[in-house]
């Protein structure tokens, strides 16, 4: 059996307790082990990608129990890509957290970060619906700790909201899984797909309830419109590097939708045909609209970036909700872009907030303002989907994929209008942050200490001037976006193959259930 598949889960699961128990008082050692673990994870992810590249589906049976009875981990093109995306993002975030000193502002940052990585990677790799729930809980319980990292009254209260909202989501997840189990008698995704397809049409009322409940759960994670309320307050009040890593958490919801609603409740399954896409598309359009309006209306930088995360989730879910191979190609490309762009923007937001506070009001010029302004400009271009960077290609792909849909005019109108609104919102924020500060006639400079993120800002022992290391991951994320643009051709070939694999689930099912041929 191929043991590489479990390595991305085992490694952080071993490193995190080691950090807590053995080196909890050695900050430098913690940093070394944390970075080493993330680098090793990147190498493992590359190995996994090279294994999945040719379309083989790897199956890892935990405890050597065959598939419908034991838990399996499944590696296909989509999982391999998401794992690599997560580890690349984790490398940038952990370097930034070290460079900016964020990891010293509270305890156990690195251990919690490793646990969160374990949860996210496990969620991408698992082939069992209940195991997906368990990995969701692992990543959530670590994210609760990361979310309130550094403390402060506002952050703690936002943390309570975040935890309560996600606990509700977990309860709903269990209800959905229970419903599915009571109808099908299995929770293995491949086995579910077989059973659902075999079910007689008159017995499917409960199954539909289960499918919609499950969609609601993933919509909570992905911050789709009526269920997005947790995101702005949580992300804006979380430490910004943590929020940058949370960019992958919303993608976990999107991934789960893409996985389960192509594999189990696929487009050709009569039971749930039209059930999901018809509801998800309007919700995704509204998500995009609300996200971009939020960008325009935000009065704080953190909230602005949080709303831009919602907007990019909206675009992504438009592509997913079309449920065609072409749209899935666009969706997978947009996942990569959106993760890097959102994370880049959160890190730039942290650079700004560290220097002048998060309020969108004129203040005196900040140190290194030119570099930060350039980075903000690049991030804004990427998020708004303007030509030079990959956001443009992503949005173009989504719009091109929607041409076959009946809703094509609505989709195009919403995407184009919200792009304009996003550009205006970002331009407004950028000019207030970086240009108005040079306008002396405006008002006597109020000191940048009125930061209302409520955190105890920079304890005495923290490194005061942000060292150059903090800029490295930010530029690396920008370079990743540039690479995604330049190498759009090879990436597109991979995402096309991924979409083809997703929409031909027979291979997945046969490999997992070990039924040779069909």
């Amino acid at each position: 059996m191929n043991h590489w598949i479990i390595a991305p889960i085992v490694l952080p699961a071993v490193v995190a307790p080691f950090i807590i128990m053995v080196i909890r008082y050695h900050r430098d050692l913690q940093r070394v082990f944390s970075v080493a673990s993330v680098v090793a994870l990147n190498l493992i992810a590359l190995v996994l990608l090279s294994q999945a590249m040719d379309g083989t589906i790897g199956v890892y049976e935990l405890g050597d129990w065959p598939a419908p009875f034991g838990i399996v981990l499944v590696l296909d093109r989509l999982s391999a890509l998401m794992v690599l995306l997560t580890t690349l993002l984790a490398l940038a975030v952990v370097l930034y957290a070290i460079g900016s000193g964020w990891d010293t502002r509270g305890r156990h940052f690195h251990a919690l970060f490793q646990f969160q990585l374990m949860g996210v990677l496990g969620a991408f790799l698992t082939g069992d619906a209940f195991n997906l729930f368990v990995f969701f809980e692992v990543l959530l319980i670590a994210s609760y700790g990361l979310m309130i990292h550094g403390g402060g009254a506002t952050r703690l209260r936002a943390g309570v909201q975040y935890v309560v909202y996600n606990l509700l989501g977990s309860t709903l997840f269990l209800f959905a899984l229970g419903t599915l189990y009571s109808v099908t008698g299995t929770l293995n995704m491949a086995d579910l797909a077989v059973r659902v397809a075999e079910l007689p049409a008159e017995d499917t009322a409960l199954l539909r309830v289960g499918a919609v409940l499950l969609l609601l759960v993933f919509a909570i994670k992905a911050a789709v419109l009526p269920l997005h309320f947790w995101l702005p307050a949580s992300y804006a009040n979380a430490p910004m590097p943590v929020a940058a890593f949370f960019a992958i958490m919303t993608k976990v919801g999107a991934y789960a939708i893409l996985r389960l609603y192509t594999l189990v409740f696929g487009p050709e399954v009569a039971v749930t045909a039209g059930l999901v896409g018809d509801w998800l598309l309007p919700a995704a359009l509204l998500t995009l609209a609300v996200g971009s309006i939020g960008i325009l209306g935000a009065r704080e930088l953190g909230r602005l970036v949080a709303f831009s995360a919602i907007a990019s989730m909206g675009t992504l879910l438009i592509a997913i909700s079309l449920f065609t191979p072409q749209a899935a190609t666009a969706a997978v490309y947009y996942v990569i872009h959106s993760t890097f762009a959102t994370a880049l923007m959160f890190l730039v937001a942290d650079l700004v907030i560290e220097r002048r506070g998060g309020r969108l009001a004129p203040t005196p010029p900040m140190p290194q303002g030119g570099v930060v302004a350039a980075l903000f400009f690049a991030g804004a271009i990427a998020l708004a989907g303007m030509p030079p960077l990959s956001g443009f290609i992503g949005k173009l792909l989504v719009m091109d994929a929607s041409r076959a849909s009946a809703q094509v005019w609505t989709v195009w109108a919403v995407i184009l209008t919200t792009s304009l609104i996003t550009i205006v919102g970002m331009a407004r924020a950028g000019s207030i942050l970086f240009w108005k500060s040079h306008d002396h006639s405006l008002r006597p400079p109020d000191l940048p200490e009125d930061e209302d993120d409520g955190a105890p800002e920079a304890p005495d022992h923290a490194p005061e001037p942000v060292p150059g290391l903090a800029f490295v991951p930010v530029f690396a994320l920008l370079a990743a976006l540039v690479a995604l643009t330049v190498l759009a051709g090879p990436v597109m070939r991979y995402t096309e193959a991924t979409a083809a694999q997703l929409f031909a689930p027979a291979g997945y099912i046969e490999t997992v259930l070990q039924r040779p041929g069909s």
């Binding site: 403390g151 269990l174 209800f175």
Partner: protein, 114 residues
């Protein structure tokens, strides 16, 4: 039997949701606990209700058995919800100690939500 269990799940869920919509963190946490009890009972029932039957197959005799998998699922769910409740109590407590009140809503900051 079925009606008893179904109404228990229903009442627990309804009370849980009512409490979650309160504005103080203590009722919200109680509501979350009630909801997790409801979901545990619900999961338990997904393997069909069977009284006085073992959760194992007996290959020497033709006896009825109850589905063991929901029991394993419930066990996992109980452990997770227990841990989660502990975490939310700690976070709510530190939020209360930091702000000197236990209101759950964020007046001011979240006002401009869509």
């Amino acid at each position: 039997m079925e009606i008893l269990l179904a109404s228990a799940v229903g009442i627990l869920t309804a009370s849980g949701i009512y409490l979650i919509l309160r504005q103080r963190s203590f009722p919200v946490i109680i509501g979350l606990s009630l909801l997790s009890y409801a979901v545990n009972l619900f999961l338990f029932a997904t393997g069909r209700l069977a009284l006085n039957q073992p959760p194992i197959l007996n290959k020497y005799a033709e006896v009825a058995y109850t589905d063991p998998l929901p029991q394993a699922l419930v066990l996992t769910a109980i452990v997770i919800s227990f841990g989660m409740t502990a975490v939310v109590v700690m976070i709510a407590l530190s939020a209360y100690l930091a702000a000197r009140n236990d209101r759950i809503d964020m007046t001011g900051e979240t006002g401009e939500d869509a």
